[in-house]
């Protein structure tokens, strides 16, 4: 039986559609992928367990809430965001492996990183190898310096920014003669070296630098070395070590000035050691208390993440926020969105354009960037933003003044633009 002309046309059309569908898994999605309706995949290299779990609890909440908000508002360029999470277990080897899983197995187009410096540093080469933009949350200075590359970005503050934000006030208004007390590992040494350099270059003097082994319980042998003419102590210590240090410093009778980055007490409920911390100065990267950044953006952000105005978990006030870190994840997701829109990113082959779009980008405070105005420096991909000098008064961290973005900027250490993206 012969086909009519119309039947033949219909038949051929059907064959054509069937053929396209049959090769769809091979060629079709490669054409469709990265365009139209397929989701953009943002991976989160989250420290859900292990040493940094208490901090990343908040950071992951912020990243997740940011993605949910983006999707509620229609996605990015009409495409929904698929959010995938892998647990780094707060371990560099595991974190690096999970970075590969996120990209190679989950198809992550972008990755928001761990808050663990060791995880970030070991994952940075993987970001370059697998050509995936990597948004670091940790604070090792080397991330946006000698150990970074063109695929890495950092929205938030780190050692150099914190010292840059504070040294002038420290030497002008707090003390001229300082003793630096740090934990004896990379983070402590970094603060010691940069603080000493800036203080002594601007009219102050560091009388001594005391490095205390991690996990020390008896601080007295070290604290008794503090020179008698010390006017101020700059101290940097992680987690539970801080508690022992501030209690014993107080017991020894020290009532002089104290200055530290807020990281030193990020794991401490300041109200519970009000006497010991009374008068201590702290550099904050986002005020722990909402009243000091009382904008609609901040209120919405805190509500989305589940933090109350005093910096505690809504419904569980014993849980204090990692206030100076969690916002970086929210803003990293929104920076990704900004970069996609600015570069008209459609797929991974547009990553070079995405990277170029972010180099030197300046964004204004708003729902996407509730921390404040942000500049991502073109050369080293480091974000610069407002800091705050705060002081502990009767157990509360009270902001005294803002440190503007320009004052936080330090000289460029490296130019990633010399590398091919």
């Amino acid at each position: 039986m012969s086909m009519s002309h119309e039947s033949r046309r219909t038949f051929l059309k059907g064959v054509g559609v069937t053929a396209l569908a049959a090769i769809g898994d091979g060629i079709g999605p490669a054409v469709v992928r990265g365009q139209g309706g397929s989701p953009i995949v943002i991976g989160c290299q989250a420290d859900l367990t292990g040493t940094f779990a208490s901090w990343y609890y908040w950071i992951e909440k912020a990243a997740r809430a940011a993605v949910e908000r983006v999707n509620r508002e229609g996605g990015i360029q009409g495409r929904q965001v698929k959010y995938v999470v892998e647990d780094s277990e707060s371990n560099p080897a595991t974190g690096t492996r999970k970075m590969r899983r996120l990209i190679q197995r989950e198809g992550a187009d972008f990755v928001v990183g761990s808050v663990h410096s060791g995880v970030n540093l070991s994952s940075i080469p993987v970001a370059k190898e697998l050509q995936t933009p990597y948004f670091c949350i940790a604070m090792a200075a080397e991330i946006t310096a000698e150990r970074g590359n063109r695929w890495t970005f950092r929205v938030g503050s780190h050692v150099r920014s914190q010292v840059q934000a504070s040294y002038q006030f420290a030497v002008d208004r707090i003390a001229k003669k300082w003793t630096v007390v740090v934990t004896d590992f990379a983070w402590g040494w970094s603060h010691r070296d940069w603080f000493k350099k800036e203080i002594e270059a601007h009219g102050g003097k560091v009388l001594d630098a005391i490095a205390i082994p991690v996990g020390t319980k008896d601080f007295v042998p070290f604290l008794s070395r503090i020179p008698g003419d010390t006017e101020g102590i700059y101290w940097v210590m992680p987690g539970g070590d801080t508690l022992g240090y501030i209690l014993q410093l107080h017991e020894l009778g020290y009532r002089g000035k104290k200055l530290s980055p807020i990281c030193a007490v990020e794991a401490i409920d300041v109200e519970k050691v009000a006497d010991q911390l009374e008068g201590a100065w702290m550099i904050e990267y986002l005020p722990r208390r909402e009243k000091y950044r009382d904008t609609a953006f901040q209120r919405d952000f805190r509500k989305a993440v589940g933090a109350d105005p005093e910096g505690r978990e809504i419904g569980n006030p014993s849980r204090v926020i990692a206030g100076s870190h969690y916002w970086a994840a929210w803003e990293s997701v929104n920076l990704i969105k900004k970069g996609i829109e600015a570069s008209k990113w459609k797929s991974r082959k547009d990553h070079p354009a995405f990277i170029e779009a972010l180099e030197g980008i300046q964004v204004k405070e708003g729902p996407d960037f509730p921390q404040g105005d942000l500049v991502v420096r073109a050369e080293d991909h480091q974000g610069f933003h407002t800091h705050w000098m705060s002081q502990v008064t009767k157990g509360k961290v009270e902001v005294k003044f803002e440190v503007p973005v320009k004052q936080v900027m330090y000289p460029v250490p490296v130019d990633f633009r010399k590398q091919k993206a």
């Binding site: 595991t94 082994p213 996990g215 508690l243």
Partner: protein, 217 residues
């Protein structure tokens, strides 16, 4: 080598028991140093997804050196102190964490097995009760052995608990920098320790062989 194999195959359960005993000694030392580090008993144990890690190390795409590094650094288990809710330290903050990795576990097991062999050979010498012409070698075997054990112990402590070593040295009045040196050069100390224990085993085997020959003679 023949003597070592003969000794181990003649007394396999003793070899196994001695190995486990030495391994338990290392574990106890690591636990004690960690507890001293924290100032209290650890209350939190985390077992890592080892099977997943091993599968990923062989199935994810990466260079050979990255694959080796991933395998070597695969964490197995960690323990430390987790702060409870309600105190001055934020709920869930962890302190004094010790992480056992695959390469450390392998290193410890190898060291333990070698020390077990050394002890078995030493016991064989004592059974023969004669040193004879192998007196010089005996001194090497007998003297080098403890040095090898100590070196292996130092190396293991360095790669397993460098910060803990710092605490211990601080308490003993030795500069904390010594602990840091151990951590920085832990691979070197490991190699030195391994070399020393191998030399000790070899020397002791020679003495044991000579002692056995004398005893038969």
């Amino acid at each position: 080598m023949r003597l070592i194999l003969a000794e181990v195959s003649a007394r396999p359960s003793r070899f196994l028991a001695l190995t486990l005993l030495v391994l338990a000694g290392y574990a106890a030392l690591i636990f004690a140093v960690t507890a001293a580090n924290i100032g209290r008993l650890p209350n939190d144990v985390h077992v890592f997804a080892v099977r997943e890690g091993l599968v990923d190390a062989f199935t994810l795409s990466m260079s050979l050196s990255d694959r080796y590094h991933l395998l070597a650094e695969q964490p197995l288990v960690e323990f430390g102190y987790r702060y409870p809710a309600g105190g001055a330290v934020v709920e869930g903050t962890m302190e004094g964490v010790y992480t056992l990795t695959l390469h450390v576990a392998t290193n410890l097991t190898l060291m333990s097995a070698l020390i077990a062999i050394y002890l078995m050979l030493f016991a064989r010498i004592l059974r023969a009760r004669r040193l004879g012409r192998a007196a010089g070698g005996g001194l090497v075997g007998l003297g080098g052995g403890p040095v090898g054990v100590l070196s292996a112990g130092a190396a293991s402590m360095a790669c397993c608990g460098g910060s803990g070593a710092s605490i211990v040295f601080s308490v003993l009045g030795v500069a904390a920098g010594v602990g840091r040196v151990l951590v920085e050069y832990d691979q070197l100390f490991g190699i030195i320790g391994l070399a020393l224990i191998i030399v000790s085993v070899w020397a002791t085997a020679r003495v044991a062989a000579a002692s056995s020959a004398c005893a038969k003679g």
